[in-house]
Amino acid sequence: MSPRTPVGKTSMPPDAPIGLTPPQLWEMLRTMMMIRKFDERALELYREGLMRGTTHPYIGMEGVAVGACATLRPTDRITSTHRGHGHCLAKGGDPRLMMAELLGKATGYCKGKGGSMHIADVDAGILGANGIVGGGIGLATGAALAAQLAGRDEVTLCFFGDGALNQGILHEAANLAAIWKLPVVYVCENNQYAMSARADKFTSVPDPAVRAVAYGFPGVGCDGMDVLAVYRAVAAAVARARAGEGPSLVVCVTYRYLGHHVGDPLNYRDTAEVEEWRRRDPIDRFAQDLVSHGVFDAGRIEALGGEVAREIEAAVAFAKSSPEPDVATLTEDVYA
């Protein structure tokens, strides 16, 4: 499937105000690199047999998580998916605690009891990755309800994939969010494949964003490989929510370079397609644009790559040297 927007630059012409300062831009680039490196290392750990279960690499989609979370305040919240490492890092998650959780260690975010698909830090506004497709949709809408009830200025971002577009809960939650004008933003990461199911074949409309019309709230699409395009679209939706105008749907078209999970036979798409999307790599594009617009110089960016790699290595080392949870903790925390 061919990408619809042309390859090349990000949507950052020097004269278009975007409201992001260089430090913010630097942070966004850094986070995208962190996500890439984290998931690459996670894959290696998995192949080495140190990580169990499976892992769902976010590689290629970094523009969505970072662009969207850059619009949020620390008091805002997100719900994530099974492919959640990117969201968690973008919302401020600590890679060491995430790595430790992937290795099932007691020092992990979930004390080793959640694993990759259930990483959460409720106090930091990360209401959890979720092993159920669409599982975060109702939760995010409920969190928005709680904020509204308590009169808190708090927006909840709900990440879900094209695979969740057809879960009934989306219909129910979207309707409720609309009638109650809940401060929630539904961010659909359309990487165009559920597992092997192609979005354009299994969704009844070619552009999922139009489904928002059915609920009476705005639905927009954007190029998910362009971090600033994502930022713009989500920022508008967040502002709407914060102003009490209710929910929005933002559909970010993106691509996962690797399989749905490790061991995916990938026989449902061809490598030529993957190569096309790799040419629009969000990190490369963003870095190139920052350099070409003179925001940062290439040497600094290259050094940043090394710094990120070292930080991720430190996270891996932390995780590897952390203790296993005590078997006695098996029955803890079932009930409060």
Partner: protein, 341 residues
Amino acid sequence: MSRPAVAPAPAGEAETRVLTYAEALNEALREEMRRDPRVFVMGEDVAVWGGGGVFGVTRGLVEEFGPQRVRDTPISEEAIAALAVGAAVAGARPVAEFMYVDFMGLAMEPIVNQAAKIRYMFGGKARVPLVLRAQEGAGRGNAAQHSQSLEAWFCHIPGLKVVTPSTPADAKGLLMSAIRDDNPVVFLEHKLLYSAKGPVPAGEYTIPLGVAECKREGRHATFVGIHTMVPKGLAAADTLAREGIELEVVDPRTLVPFDLDAVLASVRKTGRLIVGHEAYERSGIGAEIITQVVTAAFDALDAPPVRVCGKNVPIPYNPRLEAAAVPQAEDIVAAVRQLVA
């Protein structure tokens, strides 16, 4: 838990009046919503219909607390549950209502995979202070999809608590405790009990979850039952007393956590156990209770334990068939007579 006392009228200096089960629940909701602004109610037809709720449980609440805190919802059971879970994680204390327990099938994903597991999966760093209310039971000719008792579904899932009050006082005391509990509590009422009357203390009245009550003492056999099986058990005890057989009636009140000690104390006294529930017999809570008792107190049993339960059939529409599908007081009497013969 210590040996249960015989059920007196609820103690205390508080004034005690006769209320219906539905009025008692209403009072519990009202008291808790006054006490804690984070408590809110949502469900289908809880605000407007007939002044509040199909069974009157939420009567008058929207007038006092407003439509934000007493929310009517569209027919969206999965979302009702899922939003309630999300709101609870984010700091609210929702009381979500499901009009019939039968409809909770639609809501099982957020209840089973989210509410029950979030605290554990997140390493103890979240809490889900949530009450999911629903009503169970046959006897109104509502037929198969509106008459079930499904408490066993929820008892099976670690992370959930399950409460089944049988009297107005128990309903009030347990609902207030359930709302204050920081865990997801599935609070199951019975449609035939809403109009039952009983003494209910005014004001703050909480009954701890996980404590059974001996509703009637007896020496010859122990009957453990929930919901309408409690009044049926008491009626059976009256009949049996005329034959010189004393039936002890124990109401667990909470199914998870279960007051096994109370049941064991009774079985050690009587040597005979009958468990009654309206729910289908197969894989119902009776199987769990009997297994726990046999494992813990095999040597105390003078006879094999007996179940007096709903038949393994969908609840039929015809009234005679409906009555035959669920256990009646006569069935308890017959079972006890056989046990002590």
